[in-house]
C-alpha cells in the first residue's frame, strides 16, 4: 500500500499524438503532391540518373533520372487512395453484412459467418495476386482485391459488437417504444459500435497500404507512370549494391505510414473506450 500521493493516468496520449502526427504527415504529403512536387514524378532524365541527394534533388534520383522525393510524395497519393477506397468497400459491405447477421440470427447469421470463414481460408495476398493477374494489373483491381478481403473482417467485428449492443436494455426500450429493426440499427446500434469500427478501420488502412505496396512490388498494382512506393522498391532491387538508398526511402515511407496508422488505432482505442465507460 502506498502512503505517497496518488498519480492519475492519461488515456493513450502518446500513441494517439504520435500516430496522428505521422498520419497527418502522410495525408499532407499526398495533398501537397496534388499541387506541387519538386520535379514531375514521372519525368525521365537519363543523364542525371542515380544521383546522390543534393540541394536540387533532395533525395537523389533513381535509375531513370526521376526525382526520388517527388515520387515519394506522389506515391503517398496512391497509398491513401487505395487505403481509403479499400477500407470504404470493407466498411460498407462488411458492416451491412454484420448487421444483417446480428439482427437476423439463426440460419442467416450462420450462412454469413461461414462465408466470411470461407474468405479467410484463402491467403489474402495470394488471392489478391490471383485476382489482379486474372483481370489485369492496375490500381483499380488492386483496390477491389484488397477491399474484398476487408469485408469479412468488418463483418465479423460488426456482428460481435452489434450482438452485444442488441443485448442492451436500451435496445429493448426502443422496441418497447415501437421502433423497427432498421431504425434501431441506425439509431442505437451503429453509434455505439462506431468506436470499435473506427479503430479497426485505421488498422485496415495500414494493412491496405502494405498490401498495395506488395502488389506494386510484384508489378500487379499501380502501373508506371503512376508512382507507387511498392514499384519503387521493386526498381531499387536491381541497384541494391550501387545505390541502396533507393530502397531505403520508399521502405521508410511505407514503414512510417503503417506505424503511424497502427499507433493512431491504438491511441483511439484507449481514448474512445474509457469515455464510454465513464458513466457518472
Amino acid at each position: 500500500m502506498s502512503a505517497a500521493a496518488p498519480r492519475p493516468r492519461r488515456p493513450g496520449g502518446l500513441s494517439l499524438r504520435l500516430g496522428a502526427a505521422l498520419v497527418a504527415l502522410l495525408v499532407g504529403a499526398a495533398a501537397l503532391s496534388l499541387v506541387w512536387t519538386p520535379f514531375p514524378p514521372g519525368a525521365i532524365d537519363i543523364p542525371h540518373k542515380l544521383l546522390a541527394p543534393s540541394t536540387t534533388h533532395w533525395l537523389g534520383t533513381d535509375s531513370f533520372g526521376r526525382d526520388v522525393a517527388s515520387q515519394i510524395l506522389a506515391g503517398a497519393r496512391v497509398s491513401i487512395l487505395v487505403g481509403f477506397i479499400a477500407v470504404g468497400i470493407g466498411l460498407v459491405f462488411g458492416v451491412a453484412l454484420g448487421l444483417v447477421a446480428a439482427a437476423a440470427k439463426g440460419v442467416v447469421e450462420e450462412a454469413i459467418m461461414k462465408l466470411c470463414d470461407f474468405t479467410f481460408a484463402f491467403p489474402a495476398l495470394l488471392s489478391a495476386i490471383l485476382l489482379t493477374a486474372t483481370y489485369g494489373p492496375g490500381v483499380v483491381n488492386a483496390i477491389v482485391a484488397i477491399g474484398i478481403y476487408s469485408v469479412p473482417i468488418f463483418a465479423r467485428l460488426t456482428r460481435a459488437t452489434a450482438n452485444s449492443a442488441l443485448a442492451r436494455e436500451y435496445v429493448l426500450a426502443a422496441r418497447a417504444a415501437g421502433r423497427g429493426p432498421i431504425a434501431i440499427a441506425f439509431d442505437h446500434v451503429l453509434p455505439n459500435i462506431a468506436p470499435a469500427l473506427i479503430v479497426q478501420a485505421t488498422i485496415q488502412f495500414a494493412i491496405a497500404i502494405l498490401a498495395e505496396a506488395a502488389l506494386s512490388y510484384l508489378g500487379l498494382g499501380a502501373q508506371p507512370p503512376l508512382a507507387s512506393w511498392g514499384r519503387m522498391l521493386s526498381d531499387a532491387q536491381s541497384w541494391m549494391y550501387v545505390a541502396p538508398r533507393l530502397a531505403v526511402y520508399p521502405g521508410l515511407a511505407v514503414a512510417l505510414s503503417v506505424l503511424g496508422l497502427n499507433l493512431l488505432g491504438d491511441g483511439l482505442r484507449d481514448a474512445l473506450d474509457p469515455k464510454l465507460r465513464a458513466r457518472s
Partner: protein, 317 residues
Amino acid sequence: MTVPLLEVVDLVKDYRLARPSWFAPHAIRRAVDGVSLTIHPGRSFGVVGESGSGKSTLARAVMALEQPTAGTVRLDGHSLFDLSSRELRAARAEMQMIFQDPYGSLDPRQRVGRIVAEPLINLAHVTRTQRAARVLESLRAVGLVAADADKYPHEFSGGQRQRIAIARALVTRPKLVVADEPVSALDVSIQAQVLNLMSDLQREAGVTFFLISHDLAVVGHLCDDVAVMFHGRFVETGPAAALFKAPKHPYTRELIDAAPKLEEAPIVAVDAPPRDEAPGGCAYAARCRFAQARCREAAPALRPLGDGRSAACHFPL
C-alpha cells in the same frame, strides 16, 4: 362493467435450450407456465417473485416484446398478438415500460431529450413541435428541468436516470406502465423519492402500474392487487394488504418471513437440504415446511378462497 385494461389468459412461454446430444431433442425450459391475470384501470397490480420465477419473462410477454408459446394478452380488449405490426406499433402508445437498470436502459450516445422523445417517433399524429412540448411536459412531471433535455445520461445519477426512464415511459400518456424492478438498483433514500413519484403519478395522472419486484415492501407500497410467482406460476393472488397480513400460501409466508425487517428478526427457514423434486407434484413441495404426500403427487391449481384471494395449495394456511 368496464373493459379491463389488461387481460392475460393462460400465458405460456417456453425457451429452447441446447440439445444434450446431436440426436436428442432440444430441452425445453418453461419460464411461464399458464399465468392469467386481470388489471382494471386505476388498480395497480404487482407480481412478486425471486430469480427464476419467470416474472421478467411475463413482463416482456405482456409488452409484446416476446412471442408467447400459448395464451392471449388483451390490452383494452384488443388481443395484442393478433394485431398487424402496424396496429401493434400504434397500440404501444397505450403501454410503456420502465426497466431495472438505470444505466443500461438509456442509450449513452443520445441526449436525454431525444431519449424521452423516442416513443413519440412512432406516433404519426404527433408533430415535431408537439413532440418537443410533450418531452418538456414529461420531464417536468418527473421533477427534471428543461435544461436537462440537452444533457447526456452519464451526467446524471442513478436516481435521476430512472426518472428519465419514467419520463420516457410517460411521454405517450399511456394507460398502463409496466415497471420491471424499477427501484432495485437504487439507494434507499433515492428509492423513496422514485416511489413517491410513482405514487404521485398514480394519483394525479391516473397511471396504472404493472409492477414486477422481488421486494415485498415496494410492491405493497404501490399496488392494490398482488400475485406471488414461483417457478412460472402464480401461487397466490389477492388484494395487497390482506395478502401481506395473512398469506395463504407457504411460499408467500417464507418470503415475508425472510425479508429483512427492522421491527423483528427475520425468521429463517431451517436450512435443511431440499428434498428431490417430484415431477408432476407441487413445484414448492421440495422446500415446503408443510409438504405432505399429496403435494408430491398432484400439482395444486390456483383456486379462489373467497374475498378475492386465491392460492395454489392443497393445504392453504
